[in-house]
């Protein structure tokens, strides 16, 4: 039991690290590159499509493989998201997120990766993002 929880934490650490390296190698930690992808009517940079496409394909294969597994390697169960409804909450939330994403070019993953970049503007964004997360949690609460 104890070994399993340690393996679990170690696996999460390694995966977070590789996730971050992927963002850095692809350059998607750079808000300017992300905004270039969103700038379809201007100097469009399609790179994000290659990054996301490649990531989706690799994950889709792993997800398919997991169908043959009873449980994950270091935990007791697969936690597949249970929400199924297409509602105002989903679309409204994605809309607000998209607006914020377009304003600066940062989404949560790259923002966290850039914490140690030495850029203090990133830290201000991260602080505001954490506040936004908590405001939504206390004002509206988790989706059911």
């Amino acid at each position: 039991m104890k070994t399993m929880s340690l393996s679990k934490l170690l696996a999460a650490l390694v995966c977070g690290f590789i996730f971050g390296l992927g963002l850095l190698l692809s350059g998607m930690n750079d808000p300017a590159k992300v905004r270039a992808f969103l700038d379809v009517f201007g100097a469009w940079g399609p790179e994000l499509i290659a990054v996301m496409g490649s990531a989706v394909v690799v994950f889709a294969i792993a997800f398919k493989l997991s169908g043959r597994m009873v449980k994950p390697l270091f935990a007791h169960a697969f936690h597949e998201p249970s929400l199924k409804q297409i509602d105002l909450r989903l679309v409204g939330g994605a809309l607000l997120f998209g607006i914020g994403w377009g304003l600066v070019g940062l989404c949560p993953g790259p923002a966290l990766v850039d914490i140690f970049s030495g850029n203090t503007d990133v830290l201000l964004f991260v602080a505001a993002m954490l506040v936004g997360n908590r405001v939504a949690h206390y004002a509206i609460g988790p989706a059911k």
């Binding site: 679990k8 996730f19 963002l23 690799v58 997120f97 998209g98 914490i115 503007d121 997360n133």
Partner: protein
């Protein structure tokens, strides 16, 4: 284009590892919310995940890589964007990683709709900002 494809594959590999290893979706939104749920033993993995994620930047540079960033220094923009991203991702239950990579990889209709919505909203926002002459 090679770095983009390889980088994307690493992201997919990390998400695959977290799913096959501990049965969790690599969604940054849930990871951030999980930070505030620290008494729950079930969600302690998020601390390890974020720690690994933050270590990547210094490690990448130590290995000789370089991935410079360029970001606005307008404080009003940074704060508004951060608030919108934090609030919106919580309400919509996911962002580019949870909906965009993992959700699309699971062929989840919710995630496909969310991804199309936030990409469209992002594109409209950038277009609008350019239209008003980058006055912001």
């Amino acid at each position: 284009m090679v770095n983009e494809l390889l980088g994307g594959a690493l992201i997919g590999l990390a998400a695959a590892g977290l799913w096959l290893g501990i049965g969790r979706i690599s969604g940054m939104t849930a990871v951030i919310s999980g930070l505030f749920a620290w008494p729950e033993v079930q969600r302690r993995w998020v601390y390890a995940f974020i720690f690994g994620l933050m270590l990547a930047y210094p490690a990448f540079y130590a290995l000789g890589g370089s991935s410079p960033i360029s970001i606005t220094s307008n404080k009003t923009l940074l704060i508004s964007a951060g608030l919108l991203v934090g609030f919106g991702t919580y309400i919509g239950n996911g962002c580019t990683s949870g909906h965009g990579v993992c959700g699309m990889g699971r062929f989840s209709l919710r995630s496909i709709i969310a991804t199309c919505t936030f990409i469209s909203a992002g594109m409209a926002t950038v277009a609008l900002m350019n239209l008003i002459g980058g006055a912001l």
